[in-house]
């Protein structure tokens, strides 16, 4: 168990100037973990998640900044002396060794006495329910079993930090959900500081105590799942977290600096968001609304013009059973709304959707940064969706 600290960490692969590789793969990465925290790194492909992990592991050198594990600067420490264990996406099991030998390998290298090796391997195997597989070779295992062995190999070492790089992405959907729960349980049991990489935001939300959202090598936001969902820092995070994605509408700011208007919608900025607009100089702003916050409004004949409502034609209807997804054309944007399934809608119909004022998100039209974020009410770390 340990506190991991990354200070202004930079990685550049040193490609030729002008080529794609010449940009920093990771830029100014700052993070201080709690002891025993479960941190998830999430972001689209190529954003630098693996690179960050590999720098913590020591498989890659950081080009700048420093990495501390339990206060010790590890920049010049080889992977084996960093007291970390890594679980690879490909599992990277040694194909020529039995499951037992796979798990025992690191202990054997440290010349651990034989009975100690046996005890620790058996202990890990029983935690993971793979005792009956110990004599098999990896090729005789299913994907899920290999995954467990890979975890077991990490557990046996009793490291200060676990690093897991997309460990579940080779499993089928059902197994992935099971293993997800199991890894969380394992973390609770062992209490080891864990870094977990995924590009699946559902995985990130359900597993992470804190989530690091990355894009193009830069941290976009570090927060609890709840805060990421409720108070995204910018449009990227807002769109990345939550399924279906948040809807964005381009709105004009009216002269009263409160009303936000388009041809077929009208919103009102309240509270901190409203105050933020007072000092905002631009005339336009992005309004973000999550599909699950949109409500169907019986058409009262008033049409648009009412506060916090929008009106448009239904272009797509997707009944999913419990809910119905509809896509509505609002000005030049497609807005997705998640409606109760008892609401009867038909294709081509013009409907009115409403959203509570406090659920609106505002973003600067140019920088795409959030406007008027309220300070979060202090939340317990273990918040999960």
């Amino acid at each position: 168990m340990a506190i991991v600290e990354l200070k202004n960490v930079v990685k550049n692969y040193g490609g030729h100037k002008g080529s794609k590789d010449s940009a920093n793969a990771v830029e100014n990465f700052n993070l201080l973990t709690e002891d025993g925290e479960f941190v998830v790194l999430v972001g689209p492909s190529g954003c630098g998640k693996s690179t960050t992990m590999r720098m913590i592991a020591g498989l890659e050198n950081n080009t700048g900044g420093e990495i501390r594990i339990s206060g010790r600067d590890v920049s010049a420490v080889p992977p084996k002396d960093r007291d970390i264990a890594m679980v690879f996406q490909s599992y990277a099991l040694y194909p020529h060794m039995s499951v037992f030998e796979n798990m025992a390998f690191s202990l054997r290298l440290k010349k651990t006495p034989n009975d100690e090796v046996k005890r620790r391997v058996n202990e890990a195997a029983s935690i993971l329910n793979i005792e009956h597989l110990l004599e098999r070779k990896p090729r005789a295992l299913s994907g899920g079993q290999r995954q467990r062995v890979a975890l077991g190999r990490a557990i046996v070492r009793q490291p200060q930090v676990f690093l897991m790089d997309e460990p579940l992405s080779n499993l089928d959907a059902k197994l992935r959900v099971d293993m997800r729960a199991e890894i969380v349980k394992l973390h609770r049991k062992l209490g080891v500081t864990t870094f977990y990489v995924t590009h699946d935001q559902v995985e990130a939300m359900t597993m992470g105590q804190r989530i690091v959202v990355m894009l193009d090598g830069k941290i976009q936001q570090v927060d609890t799942p709840q805060n990421l969902y409720e108070r995204p820092n910018n449009m990227f995070v807002a769109g990345f977290i939550g399924t279906p994605s948040m809807n964005f509408l381009r709105a004009k700011i009216a002269s009263d600096r409160r009303a936000l208007e388009g041809e077929s919608f009208r919103f009102k900025a309240e509270g901190a968001r409203g105050t933020a607009l007072d000092t905002h100089t631009a005339n336009e702003v992005w309004v973000g609304v999550r599909p699950e916050h949109l409500r169907y409004v019986e058409d009262s004949g008033h049409g648009a013009g009412l506060e916090n409502m929008m009106r448009g034609t239904i272009e797509v209807v997707e009944p999913l059973g419990a809910v119905t997804m509809v896509q509505v054309q609002i000005d030049d944007a497609r807005v997705t709304a998640q409606l109760d399934s008892h609401v009867q809608v038909t294709l081509g119909e013009t409907i009115t959707l409403a959203c509570a004022g406090e659920k609106l998100h505002l973003f600067d039209a140019d920088s795409e940064q959030a406007l008027g974020l309220e300070q979060p009410v202090s939340e317990p770390l273990s918040a999960a969706v």
Partner: protein, 311 residues
């Protein structure tokens, strides 16, 4: 060689230190033995050959050594035997390549079918590849090509034809036959493996598209074999360019200069005329010829490296 260091451009001095400490494997130390060995046994002698080629140096008169400039090359270029040897070398390489690749491809297609006894038949067919070239020369020269007692003569007589003195009247063709006999199995073996790695579904898809056998071969099989063919051609070129034992044990380069290729020409010059200087000049010629072929291989190797690093 100072070309084997591993350090990459790094930004701050501190990180540079870390770079060396953490991830730099002892690359230089691991590669040094092989590099040094090849350097001492190949590059150093090559440079010495170049040096000798600029010397007046005959082992019959070892004390009369002097700088010759390009004299040896002048002599070489005015020696009709050299040109004959160069022509023979090219002819040999070209003919053997055509025969082995063409025949090898045809045989590979034959052997790629499923039939009873396929393993045994294949094993028999590839056996010539394991025969020592000197033995090949002796067997063919005596028991196959002999104008009176050879099997081929017997067969021709049995068919009512006139026996042929192969080595005397068709010397180059005889050499090509022997070398092709040794190397067709090699082409067969590798092309067959290439064929077997062709995904079944590609063939099925093209059949569903209504392609006939020839179109199937032309548009699916051949492109798939492209890279493998390339390997066969390049490796065979290396060996064909340096053919020696088959000639040494049969024609001895004759009759006249009919089967004298560059290696044999150099061998004769050095070991029978003791002329170090001009033999070295000829050797440099052989190296240059080989390097023209090498350029292609190197392209292939380099291309392969790039493909590999994209994994």
């Amino acid at each position: 060689m100072d070309s084997i260091t591993t350090t990459q451009p790094v930004h701050s001095g501190k990180a540079a230190k870390a770079q060396r400490k953490v991830a730099s494997a002892p690359t230089r130390r691991l590669m040094a033995p092989a590099v040094i060995f090849l350097f001492v046994w190949m590059i150093v002698p090559l440079v010495m050959t170049l040096y000798y080629s600029l010397q007046n140096y005959n082992l019959m008169m070892p004390t009369m050594r002097s700088f010759a400039g390009i004299l040896n090359y002048d002599l070489l270029f005015s020696d009709p035997t050299f040109w004959a040897a160069l022509g023979n070398t090219l002819l040999l390489v070209a003919a053997c390549l055509i025969v082995t690749v063409g025949l090898g491809l045809a045989l590979a297609l034959l052997f790629n079918r499923t039939f009873i006894g396929r393993g045994a038949a294949r094993t028999l067919a590839i056996s010539p590849f394991f025969i020592m070239p000197v033995v090949t020369g002796l067997i063919w020269k005596n028991m196959m090509f002999h104008p009176v007692y050879g099997l081929i003569s017997w067969a021709l007589r049995a068919l009512g034809l006139e026996p042929v003195d192969w080595l005397a009247h068709h010397p180059m063709m005889s050499i090509v036959i022997m070398i092709s006999w040794e190397w067709t199995p090699f082409a067969l073996l590798i092309l067959l493996t290439g064929l077997q790695s062709l995904p079944e579904d590609q063939i099925e898809a093209v059949r569903l598209d209504g392609a006939n056998k020839w179109q199937e071969f032309r548009h699916i099989v051949l492109p798939h074999l492209g890279q493998v063919l390339y390997v066969v051609v390049m490796l065979e070129s290396i060996f064909f360019l340096t053919s020696f034992a088959e000639i040494y044990s049969t024609t001895g380069g004759g009759p006249g200069t009919a089967t004298t290729n560059l290696p044999y020409y150099i061998y004769l010059g050095a070991f029978f005329q003791y002329d170090i200087g001009s033999s070295s000049a000829a050797a440099i010629g052989a190296v240059i010829l080989a390097n023209i072929f090498a350029i292609f291989l190197i392209r292939f190797v380099a291309g392969n490296l790039n493909a590999g690093s994209q994994r």
